[in-house]
């Protein structure tokens, strides 16, 4: 078993128009930036993106996909920061599904765990619960939230081995392990290949991973760009 692929093009092979794509990361950290930029080059259209943020710079990442007109809809918790998204959204050219951050994470986790929906008190009694089924549990009003799954997850990891086992670094874990579980095709951008990872410290077992490509992280550069914008 060897899930390593030679380059970004091989990693992204087969992604088609209309795909639902989960993209890991919280700001620049844990973002599979090289995979996203390669996806922009590949150019599938009518994408639905599931991510926490809508990015910040037009040159790279999710805003680049949007700027190229590849994105039909984004499901996220915090779309502020990207003028590309803001302009498209105010012009009515992109759809937004705004989800509280914890609900977003749990919808993804449930998607990977085979749980079709769950109830949470988060957002009950607010504008974001409009149109959703509401039930009371233990005296508390709860909103039904449906699981999220995707055709593709783009994930960033610190290290990967040939079996697709992953470890992360710092706060780079964020959405990556749960997105890896929730997609039909999980593609990982790893900073380093390891011959063998210690089974005691593996965070994402390789069963959730389909392809791994080695890419030197640009997180320092991305953070600098984020700071400047």
């Amino acid at each position: 078993m060897d899930k390593r692929v030679a380059d970004l093009a091989a990693a992204l092979e087969g992604i088609s128009d209309g795909a639902v794509v989960m993209i890991g990361g919280f700001g620049a950290v844990g973002q599979p930036d090289a995979l996203v930029d390669a996806l922009a080059e590949l150019g599938p259209r009518e994408l639905t993106i599931i991510a926490n943020n809508a990015g910040w710079s037009a040159e790279t990442g999710i805003p680049r996909l949007m700027d190229l007109g590849l994105v039909r809809k984004i499901i996220c918790s915090f779309p502020k920061g990207s003028t590309v998204f803001k302009d498209l959204f105010t012009a009515g050219k992109i759809e937004l599904e705004l989800v509280p951050q914890g609900t977003l994470a749990e919808r993804i986790r449930c998607g990977g765990a085979g749980i079709p929906a769950f109830y949470t008190a988060t957002a009950a009694g607010t504008r974001l619960a409009e149109g959703k089924e509401v039930r009371t549990f233990r005296g508390r009003e709860c909103v039904m939230e449906e699981a999220l799954t995707a055709d593709v997850a783009l994930v960033e990891a610190w290290q990967a081995d040939r079996w697709g086992n992953l470890v992360f670094r710092g706060s780079g874990r964020n959405f990556n392990p749960i997105m890896a579980m929730a997609a039909e095709l999980t593609i990982v951008q790893a900073h380093q290949f390891a011959n063998e990872l210690d089974p005691n410290v593996i965070v994402t077992p390789g069963i959730f991973v389909n392809r791994v490509v080695q890419v030197d992280s640009r997180v320092e550069k991305l953070l600098a760009a984020q700071k400047a914008s």
Partner: protein, 218 residues
């Protein structure tokens, strides 16, 4: 606490933030919202061990590192560089919000546009709806933490009350707030409404009532 924070916050803001920090118990797990609440972390006196939680997967978040000690993989909810304290742990987003939603976080400190006397909180968007709405973790934190304390100015810049009978802003969560800390004092949300816990130096109950839409109980 650094001089830069003193200057940045102004005396009133420093005093109210310090008052809140003084009420945090030893051993609590605490989440601080972005903005003024993040300053609470710099005001925990020595001798108390408080574990700060960051929604993006950190328990045991420490202060801003020196420029040459920045780890680019470690950022807080505001995407700013942070450090780790002894005993820190890292985890993914679903676990992070399980801590929040599951009632494991002892205290969450949030900013606010309005707090109503029944504890309703409005802090995520304006009545007209922002041009670009964004919610982040505000709703999860407001319903999930064991205690929700709001740290905010007592009135808007125009002098409008922010402690109100009913929120006019869209709700973040109903009946969520336990306490409000402002430059005028500390106020508990009770079944009767707002009750004074502390008044700031030189502030009278009448001063507070004059700047508050809801009744304030002494």
């Amino acid at each position: 606490m650094s001089e830069t924070i003193e200057k940045a916050l102004g005396d009133d803001r420093v005093a109210m933030t310090r008052r809140l920090a003084g009420d945090i118990a030893d051993g609590w797990y605490v989440n601080l919202g972005v903005g003024m609440p993040t300053k609470v972390a710099d005001m925990i006196d020595d001798g108390r061990e408080v574990m700060f939680h960051s929604e993006n997967g950190i328990l045991g978040m420490g202060p801003t590192p020196a420029e040459d000690e920045i780890d680019p993989w470690l950022v807080n909810a505001g995407k700013k560089a942070v450090s780790l304290t002894p005993g820190a742990a890292l985890f993914h987003h679903a676990d992070s919000f399980a801590m929040i939603r599951g009632g494991h976080i002892d205290l969450c400190v949030l900013g606010g546009y309005e707090v109503a006397e029944n504890g309703d909180l409005a802090n995520w968007t304006t009545p007209s709806g922002d041009i670009l709405p964004a919610v982040g973790g505000a709703m999860d934190l407001a319903v999930g933490a064991k205690r929700v304390w709001v740290l905010m100015q007592h009135t808007t810049r125009d002098g409008a009350a922010k402690l109100v009978r009913r929120c006019t802003y869209p709700l973040t969560a109903p009946a969520a707030v336990d306490r409000v800390y402002t430059e005028l004092g500390t106020f508990a949300v009770t079944e009767e409404g707002f009750r004074v816990l502390t008044l700031a130096d030189g502030v009278s109950l009448a001063d507070v009532q004059a700047r508050t839409d809801a009744p304030i109980h002494g």
